[in-house]
Symmetry: C2
Subunit: 500 residues, 2 copies
């Protein structure tokens, strides 16, 4: 019955089921993109209902008992290592997760989030943690209930990690973050002792920044026939289909954050675009984890976008488009786009201090979930850890534990993937440089295709076929390892800041 030309999975009933799931995801992607970029403001309430319905339909489709039967049958028939075998494994896992979580708990989490998000916004505005505390207590309680649906895990937080980073464990991340922290804290201290570089000159016109970002994006792989660039309050990327990538940015005339956001988001979208076509509509046709996704965005933003090679090509064009840059030489610009300084706010942090913000959140949320930290003690614990990790005193909750929306959404387990992304980006960058010796020269000649092609071959094309540990092993020959990141950062900043 199996046709060699048929798309996977071979079973037509399962194929239709997975197609429906994928299509509901694509519809939700367009609706989400539209909400942030196009929707008139009063459309929000109705849109919320429509998106909740799509999610419910997807949940119902995934939780259908036929999925278990069909994936078992597929697993029994599939060649080891085949696409069908991967589909059977990943879809069975998604199905099990969907059926393990009671529908009432999901509904309760939604209700709690709906109440917590505006409460968080008001509490942050007023810098009043006490106003948010009961909501956060409820979210922690519900996430503990959720974790309890998976009694086989070694640590309850492991259960929360899985949807964001399949295969990750609390113990494993703890080890890796300990090494990362041990390397980053002294590096940040050393850099902080050197004089800070001047910031970029302000008055960098938005129109020129947009043109520069679009031209750079094209060099990365952005193509108007299958991509869009729009404005939004917060930059994001959304894949509406393999040939329909949507990237957004915002612009600030006092820096180049718009350009770096575009490179970051294009990195995410190149990953989505680069998945092997036969995986489309199987639910395996997208990035495998938040950590691997973030490795793609970070690699383009940091390893490429903040590098000497990249700017040796793009500086003349930037100076044409942005007159205030005209007095600066390459070394000046590199120093000014690579300012490292401990600070209070994660989303404004530089590439060196960023991971320390993440380690702080990881440690606190693990402690909240395993019950060793009470929610009431969070502001104090936050303050202590900020001093330990970054040497920074937290003046108020707004600049402390109320700064991120994640916990109001009930998202526990998401934060560590940001630092995993940093770590993986350096591991991939090292493997890439060794496999493609002339890559820096290509970038310096304006040609980023060798980077994109290597990433496509070693990361993108697999979609969700390989779990992150397997993907990383295959692409770099190693497990998750912060050493390349620490070494590269030291090397780069030793040169920029004239360190010992």
């Amino acid at each position: 019955m199996e046709s060699v030309t048929a798309l996977p999975p071979a079973d037509p009933e399962l194929r239709e089921l997975l197609g429906t799931l994928s299509d509901l995801g694509s519809a939700a992607a367009v609706l989400g993109w539209d909400r942030e970029t196009m929707m008139p403001p009063q459309g929000a309430e109705y849109r919320g209902e429509v998106m909740a319905t799509l999610e419910q339909l997807a949940h119902r489709t995934l939780a259908d008992p036929r999925v278990a039967q069909l994936t078992q049958r597929l697993a029994a028939a599939a060649q080891p290592g085949s696409v069908d075998a991967a589909i059977a494994r990943v879809v069975a896992r998604d199905h099990e997760r969907a059926v393990c979580i009671p529908v009432e708990l999901t509904a309760e989490i939604e209700r709690a989030s709906a109440a917590a998000i505006p409460a968080w916004a008001a509490a942050r505005e007023a810098s009043d943690f006490a106003a948010f505390q009961p909501h956060l207590e409820r979210q922690v309680e519900l996430r503990r209930d959720l974790a309890a649906c998976f009694p086989d895990v070694a640590h309850p937080y492991d259960a929360l990690l899985q949807p964001y980073e399949p295969g990750a464990t609390t113990a494993g991340i703890r080890d890796v973050f300990a090494t990362l922290r041990a390397g980053l804290v002294p590096l940040v201290e050393e850099i902080a002792q050197r004089p800070a570089p001047e910031p970029l000159p302000s008055g960098l016109p938005e129109a020129g920044q947009r043109t520069l970002a679009l031209e750079a994006a094209r060099a990365l792989g952005f193509d108007e026939r299958s991509w869009r660039l729009d404005d939004s309050t917060h930059p994001f990327s959304q894949s509406a289909g393999p040939r329909d990538q949507r990237v957004t940015a915002r612009w600030d005339e006092s820096d180049l954050s718009g350009l770096f956001a575009v490179m970051h988001e294009v990195g995410h979208s190149l990953y989505e675009e680069g998945v092997d076509p036969p995986l489309a509509r199987t639910t395996l046709g997208s990035g495998v984890s938040m950590g691997i996704h973030e490795s793609q965005s970070r690699l383009w933003e940091n390893q490429v976008g903040r590098s000497r090679a990249f700017w040796s090509f793009w500086l003349p064009r930037a100076q044409e488009l942005l007159p205030p840059l005209r007095g600066l030489d390459l070394d000046d610009v590199l120093r000014r786009i690579n300012v490292v300084r401990p600070s209070l706010i994660r989303v404004e942090a530089d590439e060196v201090t960023y991971a320390l913000h993440v380690i702080l959140r990881f440690e606190l949320e693990v402690a909240l979930i395993d019950g060793t930290l009470a929610v009431a003690d969070l502001p104090a614990a936050w303050g202590e850890l900020m001093v330990e990790l970054l040497g920074v005193a937290v003046p108020d909750d707004r600049n402390g534990c109320l700064q991120d929306v994640h916990w109001a959404f009930g998202e526990f387990g998401y934060f560590p993937t940001y630092a995993i992304g940093n770590i993986v980006s350096a591991q991939l960058w090292r493997a890439l440089r060794s496999a493609v010796p002339g890559v820096q020269e290509s970038i310096a000649a304006g040609d980023c295709a060798p980077v994109r092609d290597w990433l496509r071959e070693h990361v993108h094309r697999f979609g969700r076929r390989l779990d992150p540990p397997e993907l990383l092993q295959q692409a770099t020959g190693a497990a998750l390892d912060p050493a390349p990141l620490l070494e590269d950062l030291r090397l780069k900043y030793a040169e920029l800041y004239d360190l010992a």
Copy 2:
């Protein structure tokens, strides 16, 4: 059990089911709007799959046997004339239609359309009817099969009319169109004997036209908090939710077609926006038929937009924004935006000749469906009827029976609703003027609220609660009647063209 504050229908299971159906429709509306306005071109193929999946899910939801059970239960419990009674009636009818049509026939129709649409485009380009003929034969055959699913109707074409115009019959439309034709043909002939007015001066800048259209749209009810105006190849409107109306236009610097298209599309969207809020997410929360919908768009475009009252207010502003209009007085402009001349192409026709194009299509498609006209004889029949109705000789198929895409889509039964819209717009306009005596003065003072409010009260708020005949009877005290349209057109053009 029934709570007075609960939204209809009282039954929560049915309410959820109808909410799902409505939400799938809203998602499809956003995806459709996005495809025509925002989507990068290479996204089209994937988008087609996603939209087909949403439609399938909606069909499956509507055809669920629970719908029959729940609507029967609701019908038995509902007060006559209540919202629940209307929901029971309309949803049961939708359900019956969904289950009467075999899934294989629907799939075959989709396949036939997928093949026919590009074939039609190529045949039109080459003006070669023979190349399209086998596709049209297949579409006619499939529509006859579809009609055969409803053996109780008096004429097979009646079955095709229902999804577009519930309650309409072939016999009824034939009678009404006979009267319409008898009135329009001599009026067109009389007008054609008078010298044609000059066209508008060209060089009307697009930016000024856009500003004018937006300001006029705001006077009609367009509000940026819950509406958008974008460009597209063909103007359309789409409702993504009660507070999320999307209108599109295109612009031509040689006329004011962009302004009239905006007024037309705003008319459709005001209808969608004006439905009573409790009908939202019941599947009754939208316009009841294509004919009533078209009455709304036509009324704003023609009875308001091409009137002396409207232009007596807007001409000074138009002259500020569009310099070539500055030499013209009000009478000039009214003549130039009301040029009536028989022509070959329906979509370019004026408000007098337009319905004759529609009558032609109605007569031909009824004959195709009941088998009295063979597809092979269509071009000749088209040519004869164009001479009879409009006195125009058809030079080739491109300007004849290949001009519209509808039949390639398999849409038979849609065309008559265009003329029904014209007829109803005049009936409503008469009722409105008699109920709101100062309405012309309000329009002449730039205030269109009295028009919108009357339409909301007598048309919009009912959504699909009342079928078109009942709605029309209630709003105007009459059945479908072409007399007001014929009388108003004669009065208007007698003055403009100085007829006897």
